[in-house]
C-alpha cells in the first residue's frame, strides 16, 4: 500500500537550498535539511521566515535559485510539479469548485490514468469521514470538511511526501484542536512523510515528531518538541516556542564532569548553575533562561520548595487568574519583571496577592544559558 519507504532510504533531502527573488530578496538561505521518511515534520516560523517558500520549492511551485531537492537518491529539483511524487494541501484548500467532493478526490488518480477509481475514492472518503458528502460541491461544506477534502484529495495519490501549508489556519480554535488530533491519526495510519508549515507553535508541537524553527530564511534549531522547548539554543527559539524569562548573567566557570558538569553564573549577585548541555554561549556574559512554569514563588518567610539558592526581595505586581493556572508578574530587585505560571493545585488555598513580597527560585536543571549578543526580545509574539 504505502511506499516501501523504511527499507530503502526515501528521506527528503534539501541540500544548499537557496531562493533569491528577482528583486534581490533572499527568502531561503542555503538550507540543509533531512526529513526522515515516514515522519511528521513541522517547519515553524513567523510569517516571512521562508517556510512557505521552502514548501513551494519542494512542491515545484517555486523555482530553486541554488541547491537541490531529493527524495532518497532521486533528485527532483527541476521536475515539473506534476511529475513529483509530492502532493500539497493548500492554505485555503484550493478545491475545484465545479467538481463534487468525490470528483475532487479522484482528480489526481484520473490524471495518472487510473481507470477504476471507485474503490479508492470510497476508502479515502471513509478515512476522512466524508462519505456522506461525496456528491456535494465544495461550497456546500463547512471549513473543517473542506479541509478534510483537501487532505483526501492529496492523500489518495499515495505521495511519498505530503506538504501541508498552514492547513488549519482558516479554522476556528476548537475545530483546529480537533483537526490536529485527526491529522496526526491519519498520518500514523497512512505512514506517509508529512511536511507541515505553520506559524502556530502549539500546532507544531502537538503534531510533529520533529520541528524545525525557521527565522529569516534559516533553520534556527531543529529537534523534537521536547528538546526545542526544554533546551532552546537561541533567544528566538526560546521566545517563539512558548515563552521565556531571560535574565542577564556573568559566567563564572565550570564545575563537575560528564552529565553533572554545570556552568556557574552570577545573576545580579546570586550564583546559579546551568547544566553544561544547556549552555549555548562561550562568552563571559549570557542570557540565563527559565520557562515561566518552572519559576517557583513563595511569600517571604515561608519555606520555598527548591534546592539551592533563592532570590529574595521580589514583589508580585500582577496576577492573571486563568482557572487552570495563574500567571504572576514578579518585579525583581534589579527592576526586571519575570513571568511565573503556577498550576492552581489548591495548595495555597487562594492566590498570592498583588504587592506580596516573595522569594523566587527554580530547579537548576531547567535553566539554559544563551548568547548575550542575541536580542532578548527576538521571536516574541507581540513584536
Amino acid at each position: 500500500m504505502s511506499q516501501a519507504a523504511s527499507d530503502t532510504n526515501r528521506d527528503l533531502r534539501l541540500t544548499g537550498l537557496h531562493k533569491e527573488y528577482s528583486n534581490g530578496f533572499v527568502a531561503v538561505k542555503s538550507l540543509d535539511l533531512v526529513v526522515p521518511s515516514g515522519s511528521f515534520f513541522a517547519l515553524l516560523g513567523p510569517s516571512g521566515c521562508g517556510k512557505t517558500t521552502t514548501l513551494r520549492m519542494i512542491a515545484g511551485l517555486e523555482e530553486v535559485t541554488e541547491g537541490s531537492i531529493a527524495i532518497g537518491d532521486t533528485v527532483i529539483t527541476d521536475d515539473k510539479p506534476y511529475r513529483r511524487p509530492v502532493n500539497t494541501v493548500f492554505q485555503n484548500y484550493a478545491l475545484f469548485p465545479h467538481l463534487t467532493i468525490a470528483e475532487n478526490v479522484e482528480f489526481g488518480l484520473k490524471r495518472k490514468g487510473v481507470k477504476d477509481t471507485g474503490a479508492q475514492v470510497k476508502e479515502m472518503l471513509e478515512l476522512t469521514e466524508l462519505t456522506a458528502q461525496a456528491g456535494k460541491k465544495p461550497a456546500q461544506l463547512s471549513g473543517g470538511q473542506q479541509q478534510r477534502v483537501a487532505l483526501a484529495r492529496a492523500l489518495i495519490n499515495r505521495p511519498e511526501l505530503l506538504l501541508l501549508d498552514e492547513p488549519l489556519g482558516a479554522l476556528d480554535l476548537k475545530l483546529r484542536r480537533a483537526m490536529q488530533v485527526e491529522l496526526k491519526r491519519i498520518q500514523t495510519e497512512v505512514g506517509i512523510t508529512f511536511v507541515h508549515v505553520t506559524h502556530d507553535q502549539e500546532e507544531a508541537m502537538t503534531m510533529a515528531d520533529i520541528v524545525a524553527v525557521m527565522h529569516r530564511g534559516e533553520i534556527e534549531q531543529m529537534g523534537t518538541p521536547y528538546e526545542l522547548y526544554t533546551n532552546p539554543k537561541t533567544t528566538f527559539v526560546a521566545n517563539f516556542l512558548g515563552r521565556s524569562n531571560l535574565i542577564k548573567g556573568k559566567v563564572l566557570g565550570r564545575e563537575g564532569t560528564g552529565a553533572d558538569e554545570v556552568v556557574k553564573a552570577d545573576m545580579y549577585g546570586t550564583v546559579v548553575s546551568i547544566k553544561a548541555s544547556r549552555v549555548h554561549t562561550t562568552s563571559s556574559e549570557g542570557w540565563i533562561g527559565i520557562r515561566p512554569e518552572k519559576v517557583i514563588i513563595q511569600p517571604e518567610g515561608t519555606p520555598i520548595d527548591a534546592p539551592g539558592n533563592f532570590l529574595s526581595g521580589a514583589v508580585v505586581v500582577g496576577a492573571i487568574y486563568m482557572g487552570v493556572s495563574t500567571e504572576y508578574l514578579i518585579q525583581m530587585p534589579w527592576g526586571q519583571q519575570l513571568i511565573c505560571f503556577e498550576q492552581n493545585t489548591g495548595r495555597r488555598g487562594g492566590l498570592v496577592k498583588v504587592g506580596t513580597k516573595v522569594d523566587v527560585s527554580w530547579r537548576p536543571n531547567f535553566a539554559f544559558l544563551l548568547d548575550s549578543t542575541q536580542d532578548a526580545d527576538a521571536g516574541r509574539e507581540d513584536d
Binding site: K80, P81, F90, F96, P97, R111
Partner: protein, 293 residues
C-alpha cells in the same frame, strides 16, 4: 427568511411595497418600448400582403406570410447565421486568448489593456465600420500589401466579399466577447491551477479540466452577446459587403423602408426572432448553464 413573515408583518409589507415601486419605472418602460412594439410587430407579420400604404393594412391572420418569408429569403437567413456563427467562433478564440492574458498575465498592465478593449466604444459603431471600408478598400493598404507580397492576385479584393463582412462583425462584437470572459476568468483563484499541477495535471489538462469549465458562464455570456446581435446585424453587410453578402437584417430593412412590404418584413423579423430564441435555448441547455436565462 421564513421566520420574518410571521414576526414582522408590517415591516415586510412596507418592504414589499417599496419593491413594487422600484419595479414600476422599468416595467412602464418595457411596456411602452417593448411589449407594445412587439405586439405591433406580431400584428404586422399577420397583415394581408395585398395591403399598401394607399389602401391601408389590416390584420388578416395571414399565416402564409411566414412560409413566404422563409421560402423567399432562406439564403439570407442561412447566410446570417453562418456569418454570425463564424464571427462568434473567431471572437471566442481571439477573445478567450486576450481575456486570459489580461486576467492572468497582464500584471500592472491589466487596467490599460481593459481600457483598450473598451476604447473603440468612444467612437460610433458606424464610423468605425466606415473606417474599415477604407482600410479594406481596393486601394487600401491591406489589399496593396497583400498584392505586393503576391498573397493576392492583381484585381483581387477584400471589400464586398464575405471575408470583409465577417471581419467587420468580428471586430465590432469582439469587446462583447472579451468582457464576460474576462469577468469569469478573473474570478478564478490562480491557486486552483497550482493545485491541478500538484495533482498531476499537465498545463493542457489543467486548462481543460479546471480553467475551461470554470469559464463556461463567461463563454456562454460572451457568445450570446456576440451571436445574437451579429445574426440580426445589417450595418456590416451594407457597408462592407455587396448584394451577394446580404444578411437577413438587410432584407428586413429594405422591405420595411424601400419596398414597403410590411407584412413580409414583419414575418421575417418574427422568423428571425423565433430561430434565435430556439437556438439560444438549445445552446444554454446543452452548455448546462440554465441559470443564465
Amino acid at each position: 427568511m421564513p421566520g420574518g413573515r410571521t414576526t414582522n408583518v408590517a415591516a415586510l409589507t412596507r418592504k414589499q411595497r417599496a419593491g413594487l415601486w422600484l419595479i414600476v419605472p422599468a416595467a412602464l418602460w418595457l411596456l411602452i418600448f417593448f411589449v407594445i412594439p412587439f405586439y405591433s410587430l406580431l400584428a404586422t407579420s399577420l397583415f394581408d400582403p395585398n395591403g399598401s400604404v394607399l389602401t391601408g393594412y389590416d390584420v388578416a391572420w395571414h399565416f402564409a406570410n411566414f412560409g413566404n418569408a422563409i421560402s423567399n429569403y432562406w439564403p439570407e437567413i442561412v447566410r446570417s447565421f453562418l456569418y454570425a456563427g463564424i464571427a462568434t467562433i473567431i471572437c471566442l478564440v481571439l477573445g478567450y486568448t486576450l481575456a486570459y492574458a489580461i486576467a492572468f498575465k497582464a500584471g500592472k498592465w491589466k487596467t490599460v489593456m481593459l481600457v483598450m478593449v473598451i476604447a473603440p466604444f468612444f467612437t460610433s459603431f458606424l464610423i468605425r465600420t466606415l473606417a474599415w471600408k477604407l482600410i479594406l478598400g481596393d486601394d487600401g493598404w491591406v489589399v496593396n500589401t497583400l498584392q505586393t507580397l503576391h498573397f493576392m492576385p492583381q484585381g483581387g479584393r477584400i471589400l464586398a466579399t464575405p471575408v470583409a463582412v465577417i471581419a467587420g462583425i468580428t471586430y465590432n462584437f469582439l469587446p462583447f466577447m472579451i468582457l464576460p470572459l474576462y469577468t469569469s476568468l478573473e474570478k478564478m483563484d490562480p491557486k486552483l491551477l497550482e493545485a491541478a499541477g500538484d495533482l498531476y495535471a499537465n498545463p493542457f489538462q489543467a486548462f481543460f479540466k479546471v480553467t475551461w469549465p470554470l469559464s463556461i458562464p463567461g463563454v456562454v455570456g460572451g457568445t450570446l452577446l456576440t451571436f445574437i446581435p451579429a445574426a440580426g446585424d445589417y450595418i456590416n453587410a451594407a457597408l462592407l459587403g455587396s448584394p451577394n453578402e446580404r444578411m437577413v437584417g438587410n432584407v428586413i430593412q429594405s422591405l420595411f423602408t424601400t419596398q414597403g412590404d410590411y407584412a413580409q418584413a414583419g414575418a421575417l423579423s418574427v422568423v428571425l426572432l423565433v430561430i434565435i430564441v430556439a437556438l439560444v435555448m438549445l445552446y444554454v441547455r446543452r452548455s448546462g448553464s440554465e441559470d443564465l436565462l
